[in-house]
């Protein structure tokens, strides 16, 4: 019979405020199998854990129940403590009397009664726990990085620096992501290309990093240490090995199209490289508009290419690779401002966004660095910046602040004045968020030195009057209404999740929140991890981040991933399914419901009848412990360690003991 020790935690006052912990310990002594029960202020603390180990020796306990917080917080802690006390780590159960009791009930009597029930449940379960041994599985020493922006690049570099292989899968023809579009970066006004390009080159040259550009992740299966990933390499119609990026092809291509990279302000060809410093510097053919592909005409690029790199018959290619860990660095996209009637529903050409302005600022951009009005190309002297377009707007279902728009707007105002000292910059804002290092000083400088006019108020309407944009708003600090006839309006639109974020989340089995941003394992204690071990998050796909934070989380994620890969083999959760061949009748219902294909049929010789028959067999490395097979199995031949039938049955029975099963 198990000798159970019950340890009731005060958790400071979090529990003892509404639960009479002394009474719970007292009553727990009466539960079947309980040989010792006490309460202590902080069970998870050093002295708390020592207390457990001391009591195990003193009362030679064989099972431990800790009544405290949620298992998601300290189940690991106490399992290790149980192991250190010389018991099997799985001879331990947690009774959650904080999140699911003391914090959610205020009547002391009721909360205490419920805490007692919860502890009774835990003691009933722990009595039936089996000793489980952790088993180990090999680890694939390679990290998959989804997304080739600055966060993916930084993560890859750090992973390679740790000596592990990394594979970047980037949807666009070149890595570089959003940052490649920027001119300068705040607060240091470093040129974005100058600090990004060397990292892109480093990634391209590193023999530990493999680049799959113009490619997408199609399917992910397996689990930590053994992810099997299918990657679709979309056909570029240009052979990467032969092409050296000389550019003859896209110079001669007759088709001119608006360039997405330049926010449709500039042009590109049907065969194009998105931007000059593209890595790999290999063009891609836009199959939708290429004359040869659609009408079998032209084909100039193939004729002029000195290295025969053009191959119109190139097909998509799906490759499958094994990975030990996955870092998600898919970044963000911009909020579509055309839903705002106040700003003209996107009708006015001169109402643009921060990215358009950034491309105009950029010397290699469509306007060669000149700030002009997209409508007629004339120079823009008076520019109005409008903050929080989409961000902090409950009515549009966008409650959060995008964190970095105030900073890039300040930078853009500064650069506007640098490019043209007579230019006037007006910034309509609600609150300036400049919390980073040297951020506040930067914004102050833009106002004092560069004379940007900051108007605290919302813009109520933008309308056109003889070619100029009339911006109506108010300045709440002076209490007056303002109307500015602007040449150009720049909207600081919000940073939101990628449109296909949910598809990727479901592929990776990671949760996401109501804004479709991926959810981290714990906002404070595990910001770059997810609940799915082996999958890590970096950059804006978790929540909007500026470059410094993005690089920080990229390095953090790579350290976490490398930490995983540095083990020779990984311990896998021993709470997996187990078949009792005596009972199994070989109907294989379990095989049908297993989401992981972890169950196969096996022929055995029956012990009693000595005849051959089919039974189910579980592959321990593939089983993730979901337990669907348990429900499908009618005779109950398959059981899930950690959540066995006996454990759950024991819990139900203990729950209803006082209900009196007497008739």
């Amino acid at each position: 019979m198990a000798r159970i020790g019950v340890f009731v935690c005060h958790c400071g006052t979090n529990i003892s405020a509404t639960v009479d912990v002394k009474k719970v310990a007292e009553i727990a002594k009466g539960f079947p199998g309980v040989k010792f029960a006490t309460d202590y202020r902080y069970m998870c603390s050093e002295p708390g854990q020592d207390l457990i180990q001391k009591m195990v020796k003193e009362h030679n306990l064989t099972r431990i129940v800790v009544a405290a917080c949620s298992p998601s917080l300290h189940e690991k802690t106490f399992r290790t403590c149980t192991q250190n006390a010389g018991l099997n780590p799985y001879f331990f159960e947690m009774a959650n009397i904080r999140e699911q009791c003391s914090w959610v009930h205020d009547d002391r009597e009721e909360a205490t009664l419920k805490a007692i029930d919860i502890v009774k449940l835990a003691t009933a379960k722990v009595g039936k726990n089996n000793p489980l041994q952790t088993t180990f599985i090999p680890v694939e020493k390679k990290v998959l990085i989804i997304g080739g922006g600055i966060s993916g690049i930084q993560a890859a570099i750090d992973v390679a620096f740790n000596g592990f292989k990394a594979v970047i899968v980037e949807r666009e023809p070149s890595i570089g992501g959003r940052m490649a579009m920027f001119d300068k970066t705040f607060p240091t006004l470093d040129c974005a290309a100058c600090i990004l390009t060397p990292k892109m080159v480093e990634v391209n040259q590193s023999d530990l990093i493999k680049l799959y550009t113009y490619s997408e992740v199609e399917e992910v299966s397996g689990y930590v240490g053994n992810f099997k990933v299918k990657i679709r390499r979309k056909a570029r119609l240009v052979d990467e090995n032969k092409c050296n990026g000389c550019g003859t092809c896209w110079q001669r291509c007759p088709v001119r199209l608006p360039s997405e990279f330049d926010m449709n302000l500039g042009k590109r060809k049907a065969i194009y490289v998105p931007f000059p410093q593209a890595v790999p510097n290999v063009p891609v053919i836009d199959q939708k508009h290429c004359l040869y592909i659609n009408k079998k005409k032209c084909g100039i690029c193939k004729k002029v290419c000195p290295f025969e790199a053009i191959d119109y018959e190139q097909e998509d290619e799906v490759i499958e690779e094994q990975f030990g860990a996955i870092i998600v660095a898919t970044g963000f996209t911009m909020f579509d401002h055309s839903i705002y009637g106040e700003y003209g529903y996107g009708k006015y050409k001169n109402v643009t966004t921060g990215l358009h302005f950034e491309r105009m600022l950029n010397s290699s951009g469509p306007t060669g660095g000149k700030i002009v009005r997209p409508s007629d190309g004339k120079e823009a002297k008076k520019v109005v910046f409008i903050q929080c377009v989409g961000s902090r707007d409950e009515a549009r279902g966008m409650p959060y602040c995008s964190r970095l728009c105030c900073m890039y707007t300040a930078k853009q105002a500064l650069l506007l004045k640098e490019h043209n000292p007579e230019a006037e910059a007006y910034v309509f804002y609600i609150d300036i968020r400049a919390a980073g290092k040297n951020y506040e000083e930067f914004v102050e400088r833009v106002q004092d030195e560069y004379g940007a006019t900051y108007l605290r108020g919302r813009v109520s309407k933008i309308f056109q009057r003889n070619g100029r944009l009339m911006v109506r708003g108010c300045d709440t600090l002076s209490g007056t209404q303002i109307e500015i006839d602007a040449d150009l309006v720049v909207l600081a639109t919000a940073l939101i999740a990628r449109p296909d974020a949910i598809k990727l989340a479901q592929m990776l089995h990671i949760p996401y929140d109501q804004n479709r941003l991926f959810t981290e394992a714990h906002p404070k204690l595990a910001p770059v991890e997810t609940v799915t071990t082996g999958v890590f998050l970096t950059g804006a796909c978790q929540s909007p981040k500026d470059i410094p934070d993005t690089v920080a989380t990229a390095s953090a994620a790579s350290v976490k991933a490398c930490g995983l890969l540095s083990h020779e083999k990984l311990p896998i959760d021993p709470q997996i399914a187990r078949v009792d061949v005596e009972i199994c009748s070989g109907c294989l219902a379990c095989k049908e419901v297993c989401p992981f294909g972890a169950i196969e049929k096996e022929e055995i010789v029956d012990r009693v009848t000595q005849q051959k028959r089919w039974v189910a067999k579980v592959a321990p490395s593939l089983c993730n412990g979901c337990g669907a097979c348990n429900t499908a199995c009618r005779p109950g031949a398959i059981d899930l360690d950690g959540f066995t039938e006996e454990q759950i049955f024991g819990q139900i029975e203990s729950l209803t003991a006082d209900k009196g099963n007497e008739r």
């Binding site: 005596e582 012990r607 009693v608 009848t609 099963n661 007497e662």
Partner: protein, 337 residues
């Protein structure tokens, strides 16, 4: 003592019994003939072949609480129960209790069974219209036997009944009731008795059973004979003489309940070993216990010929046929099943 009673006199007797005893009698419950406690005379059935469940259920109940336990405190079941009368027992069932007495009262006494036997009077009703499946005459019994009863009622038709006591308590019940029995009544009664006995065409020769069984233990015949059986519990549960039971703990109660050697886990041991795993062994066991071992140990077959097993078998197995086709000599190859 013998007395002659008219129908209403018999009803008055029954009424009298109802005041003093708990009376259990055969009633029609949604098409099933079952022995149930009765409080009104009209409930009692008179012309019925035999009940579905034998009277064994009142002595070895389908489920009986031996004792209750809670938090270490044990509370035995109270054995004493109010005196009761089982009315309308057929001769074969009454005789079956004598066989059960050999099991539960001979050597070690089963207190639960004993108390029930002691506090129960049996008022039997002779059969005038036996079923085609009845064969009590082949097993030292008969439609008018009074063995095992306290009082036997013989229906002389035309509403007249000849009651014959068979025990002091029976006599007590009969005292001062009805009329003396004269010669003519006796003659009518023996005539009806012989007529009913002739109605029972199904004749078996149980005498050879024991000898056949001992020879045929290892014969491959059993493999063939057992194929048709689906190993359910009907023939075991509804047989008045089958008495095997299992014991389990259920929510604070130690209970005893019917079990059958037809079930696969009947002989399953904790280690998982199971001497009688196959259907062949389990099928055979029923025959050897009733017509082999019991005969050797107690000198009498464990069967009263009530025919319930023939009527209720889902696949219509007739055990007498199985036994008759069991080859007399062991070594001859099994004849075509």
């Amino acid at each position: 003592m013998k007395r002659l009673l008219k129908k209403e006199e018999l009803n008055r007797l029954l009424l009298g019994l109802m005041k003093e005893y708990d009376v259990i009698a055969p009633i029609d419950e949604e098409g099933l003939i079952l022995f149930r406690p009765v409080t009104k005379v009209e409930q009692v059935l008179w012309d019925y072949p035999n009940s579905l469940k034998p009277v064994k259920e009142f002595f070895l109940p389908p489920r009986e609480v031996l004792f209750q336990f809670k938090r270490g405190k044990v509370q035995p079941a109270n054995l004493s129960l109010k005196k009761r009368v089982i009315w309308g027992v057929r001769p074969c069932d009454a005789r079956s209790l004598l066989l059960l007495d050999k099991v539960f009262l001979d050597s070690t006494q089963d207190v639960y069974y004993r108390e029930k036997r002691k506090s129960t009077l049996l008022v039997g009703l002779s059969c005038n219209h036996p079923e085609k499946s009845c064969f009590c005459t082949s097993f030292a019994s008969g439609p008018h036997h009074k063995e095992g009863m306290d009082l036997l009622i013989a229906d002389l038709e035309e509403g007249i009944f000849l009651l014959e006591s068979n025990s002091p308590e029976g006599e007590q019940l009969l005292k001062g009731r009805g009329k003396e029995v004269n010669k003519i009544d006796e003659k009518i009664r023996t005539k009806i008795k012989e007529k009913t006995e002739r109605k029972i065409e199904r004749k078996l020769k149980p005498s050879q059973f024991l000898e056949r069984l001992t020879n045929g233990f290892d014969s491959s015949y059993w493999e063939k004979a057992s194929r048709q059986c689906i190993s359910c519990g009907i023939c075991r549960y509804l047989c008045p003489t089958c008495h095997c039971f299992d014991i389990a703990d259920e929510e604070g109660e130690r209970v005893r309940f019917w079990d059958g050697c037809s079930f696969r886990n009947f002989t399953k041991m904790t280690s998982g070993e199971n001497p009688r795993f196959g259907k062949r062994e389990r099928f055979k066991q029923w025959y050897y216990h009733k017509f082999g071992y019991f005969k050797e140990n107690h000198g009498v077959f464990l069967c009263v010929g009530c025919g319930r097993c023939l009527r209720n078998c889902p696949v219509k197995i007739d055990f007498s046929e199985v036994l008759q086709q069991l080859p007399a000599q062991a070594q001859t190859p099994a004849r075509e099943g």
